[in-house]
């Protein structure tokens, strides 16, 4: 007991909780965030480079339209959609609009399922 008191519990303690959708939504927000950190600066740099030189434009278009570029673009759009939807959910929580447990469960459902639909539609359209 004393030993336990000396060592405060440290995150991540995923194994002790029962998995729930709200928990998944929160972790997926971090995961998509880390993915976007790796991709967004690169895409921003690519877009600006494409706007500034004909050769770069041709190279960027060739890369984007290849299978790897398309996959990255699809993944980025899905991660962005999820991160933004869940981000709006968190902002609404911050201003006290979705304080209740029911509201958080419902909004998590809306965010996750709309992201899945968005991912499927984009996979067909892209």
């Amino acid at each position: 007991m004393i030993q336990e008191m000396k060592q405060p519990p440290l995150s991540p303690r995923l194994s002790i909780y029962k998995w729930r959708l709200t928990m998944f939504a929160s972790i997926a927000h971090r995961a998509s965030g880390i993915f976007l950190v790796l991709v967004m600066p690169l895409l921003f740099w690519l877009l600006l480079s494409m706007a500034h030189g004909k050769t770069t434009y041709a190279f960027g278009l060739y890369w984007l339209q290849g299978s790897f570029g398309t996959l990255i673009l699809w993944l980025t759009c899905v991660a962005l959609f999820y991160h933004m939807a869940n981000g709006i959910r968190f902002l609404l929580l911050d201003i006290g609009k979705t304080d209740s447990r029911e509201a958080m469960k419902l909004s998590a459902k809306i965010v996750v399922f709309s992201s899945i639909i968005f991912a499927l539609v984009l996979a067909i359209k892209i």
Partner: protein, 130 residues
Amino acid sequence: MKHQDLGTAHTGFHDWYWQRISAVVLLFSIPVLMGILLLTYNGNISFNQLNTWLTHPISKAASILFLFALLTHVWTGLKVIIEDYVHTTAARVILLNILLLLLAGFAAYMSYHIWAELTYTWGCIPCEGK
């Protein structure tokens, strides 16, 4: 609503606040950016259009605003993640400092690129023939 207990550095509120501010900026700018990228990908935006739009002074100013909002958001977000999961103080401090240097470097590089177009002749991977 500001809390009185700000911690030893008295900056407890800043990260949370700037994360939200940058989030709102990104909420409006990222759809525009991804829209342009997707339209370019689909072949709907030619080089001349893209060049005209993104070299306009207004879009340069917007790019700078977007860049700093993005990096503020990356910094506040990754800082929280690193502080949560890296438990050794030395490793945490070193990681945060490396991250800050990388972000500052990227900010400087991109700001220079956005305003001084001349650097595109050597700053890109497939360089223009100059």
